[in-house]
Symmetry: C2
Subunit: 337 residues, 2 copies
């Protein structure tokens, strides 16, 4: 692997000139510029970015830390982040943590060790140890906490109003006449799940439906577990006539379980999802859902991160974006017996 020195020697100039040709060509005479460029081409020389970045204390890389990169839900978010990042000269690297705390920390540390300029965190756990006696912003790298952020942290956050979103979803089901509304919740302890459960409860209460904790099952945001949870819900007597799954992926598990049980959707049981993944319209039946503004989430993350990357101080803000109830074919009025 050639260094700038050797290129300089080959082109019979000093290393600084090679650097100039590569970064500020207008500062170099045409003659030397051509000489250097031809050597660079011949040798296939590429600067060592570790050195460049060390020198410039800047990597132009952003780390997006994601519990399961594969979840359909992340698709649009990642795209919109990446598009904006690239416009501004940054690359987005994805870190898939598989929900493991050790991996969350490892990826997050890439910002503290200067291997990336900033991070966007989609996990619920906070990957840094914080000394609350000292100013937060000085301890933390440029970062944004998205989708699973609590309100206790003094950092930029991007969220939807999970309480309201789940409340409206539940209200919609109640308005269809459903009285027994089962829930397939996500990970307990995650802020999103807690908030959505709270919203569900609010809607149940204000619809004067008796709150029944047996109707709450947990699917851990996992398709397989959601299928099992649905089997459990369908074993209850009286049986729920609607299921609210707190993610579209879990809703797929619900649909699958109901199909296997030969329960008609939505005639016998309605299914409402959450997220608005792109598969939704293609499922059978097409999935009604509480859609998140995925593209806006990605955009907001970048809007809050980029200023920090330019040296502006971290702000304690919480960008709350609008959700939307999308009604397709998987929900219908409650059956009358």
């Amino acid at each position: 692997m050639l260094s700038i020195k050797e290129i300089a020697k080959l082109a019979d100039v000093c290393p600084a000139t090679v650097s100039r040709v590569l970064r500020h060509p207008h500062l170099v005479s045409e003659e030397k510029r051509d000489r250097v460029n031809s050597i660079v081409k011949q040798t296939g020389y590429v600067p060592n970015n570790l050195a460049v970045n060390l020198r410039n204390t800047k990597t132009y890389k952003i780390m997006a830390i994601i519990p399961e990169v594969i979840r359909a839900y992340n698709n649009v978010i990642i795209r919109s982040m990446q598009d904006i990042a690239i416009e501004h000269g940054y690359s987005v690297l994805l870190g898939d943590t598989q929900s493991l705390q050790s991996r969350e920390k490892a990826f997050a540390d890439m910002a503290r060790t200067r291997e990336v300029d900033g991070i966007v965190l989609f996990c619920s756990r906070f990957p840094f140890d914080i000394d609350h006696t000292v100013d937060l912003a000085t301890q933390l790298p440029p970062m944004v906490h998205a989708c699973e952020s609590t309100d206790m942290l003094g950092i930029p956050k991007v969220n939807i109003d999970n309480v309201a979103a789940a409340r409206e979803g539940t209200e919609y089901l109640a308005s269809l006449g459903h009285k027994l509304i089962g829930v397939v919740a996500g990970h307990s302890l995650t802020p999103s799940t807690e908030s959505r459960l709270a919203g569900y409860r609010q809607a149940i209460d204000s619809a004067n439906i008796n709150y029944n904790p047996n109707l709450i099952s947990t699917g851990n945001y996992d398709l397989n577990m959601a299928e099992e949870a649905t089997q459990y819900l369908m074993s209850l007597r009286p049986r729920p006539t609607a299921i609210f799954a707190f993610s579209d992926e879990m809703a797929i598990g619900c649909l699958s379980a109901l199909h296997k049980l030969k329960i008609k959707i939505p005639e016998e049981v309605s299914v409402l999802g959450f997220d608005g993944i792109s598969y939704g319209p293609f499922l059978n039946p097409a999935l009604s859902t509480v859609a998140q503004p995925l593209q806006q989430i990605g955009q907001a993350c970048m809007q809050l991160l980029l200023p920090q990357l330019n040296g502006e101080p971290m702000q304690d803000c919480n960008r709350v974006l609008p959700h939307e109830l999308v009604i397709r074919q998987s929900t219908a009025p409650a059956p009358v017996y």
Copy 2:
């Protein structure tokens, strides 16, 4: 951001000692070790890895370059790569190229610029310009080409036998009595698609079915386009009684289109997918598919990459892994009229 020098000053030792405490603590007396450690803890000092990596010419990072990270198909592959990488002290960073050549090159260049130690390439295009008059291995960073590699390159490759896999899938459909077997192909020009088309053709010929190019449609490995392609196939007269989609995701599009057309699966039309994504069993009906050995693919990638990261020369090998026909509910004997 503190540097090692300032830590050294605070602990009243020299920078080298701080470095030793962090990397080879046994070389330092207990007294100084404690002093340094306590300062490190107090200040939250973290070494600048750009400097460390520059000095050590090693990053312990691997870049996985993926056309669409979100594709369900990548899930298991990514996991198995990551598990092995971590065992060996490496992190895996994911680069989502959205099938854009510029992004493929940008991520791949991170290896040439030393920001990562090696790459695993899942794209069909080769992101480096090669001078064929010179030894390949010296021009390329440690790398493995997986899933979409052609046989012209002198680098380690991981693949399944796409020709055989598609042939067997088609033979299976033919054995069910299907004579009109539609195809929803992937990107034309990608090696995987070309090979699978060849395999399809082989099976058609050896089953003495008349090859009809009108039955080949293209879905670009995209769910929406696959839905359109299926609509087209269903508009043909006589109509195909089976559809072979070259990815499970496209098969979802097929299912969706058929549902909308009220065509019964598998009674009227059989659908066979390709890949073996984890959603498969949850679809309605559960999807029959030609499964790839996703976990083995990830493992093989790491097995071929890790030696290169340890300085061993690049080998021109092609690891071909076994596929498997998985029969579920979406395929059945051809209808008799």
